[in-house]
Amino acid sequence: AQTVTQSQPEMSVQEAETVTLSCTYDTSESDYYLFWYKQPPSRQMILVIRQEAYKQQNATENRFSVNFQKAAKSFSLKISDSQLGDAAMYFCAYRSAGGVKIIFGKGTRLHILP
């Protein structure tokens, strides 16, 4: 069975600085998707970034980028120029390429210090 592990329950970063959230996963599959979701107090899960496992190039979305290390089964999220609105829970997630279920980690709460 696939598992997703986030080892940092909470992190803090100064506004305008850069922060990296860690995620490792376990799978025997070769084709899958990885995601980072943001969950603000409104509770809605918002997709931040997604990575296809077959793509070697790391995904980027504006201030958000990932470091995808397939052999190490590592998928970290880097947030550059942190803003107050980035404060939220961040979940790393996995989905098999041929499946529909998303498997989430336990989340990392990110605090932005003004």
């Binding site: 997703v4 509770r43 529909v100 279920k101 998303i102």
Partner: protein, 114 residues
């Protein structure tokens, strides 16, 4: 509608009471998912519909949980004889094509069983 709508936003139930949680997916989305998010945890898969067919209910924790989507649009998650361990946020998500468009989540229903 523009997004996935869930109601009620909050529900307090006395232990032993039956509850019904509603999800209105985005119009035209064929896939619909229910997730359970306990306090301080990541969401966990409950069940999945494609149109009106419930294709996977492997995540439903007990036979007290029942989900339906009779006309392939609105879905209801019913919990009978609620227990304290059922307290959680119940998230609904819908998708037109997960590989292309991903999932859109609602803001969830927070259920508290007292």
């Amino acid at each position: 509608g523009a997004g996935v709508s869930q109601s009620p936003r909050y529900k307090v139930a006395k232990r032993g009471q039956d509850v019904a949680l509603r999800c209105d997916p985005i119009s035209g989305h064929v896939s619909l998912f229910w997730y359970q998010q306990a306090l301080g945890q990541g969401p966990e898969f409950l069940t999945y519909f494609q149109n009106e067919a419930q294709l996977d209910k492997s995540g439903l924790p007990s036979d007290r949980f029942f989900a339906e989507r009779p006309e392939g649009s609105v879905s209801t998650l019913k919990i009978q004889r609620t227990q304290q361990e059922d307290s959680a946020v119940y998230l609904c998500a819908s998708s037109l094509d997960a590989d292309i468009y991903g999932y859109t989540f609602g803001s969830g229903t927070r259920l508290t069983v007292v």
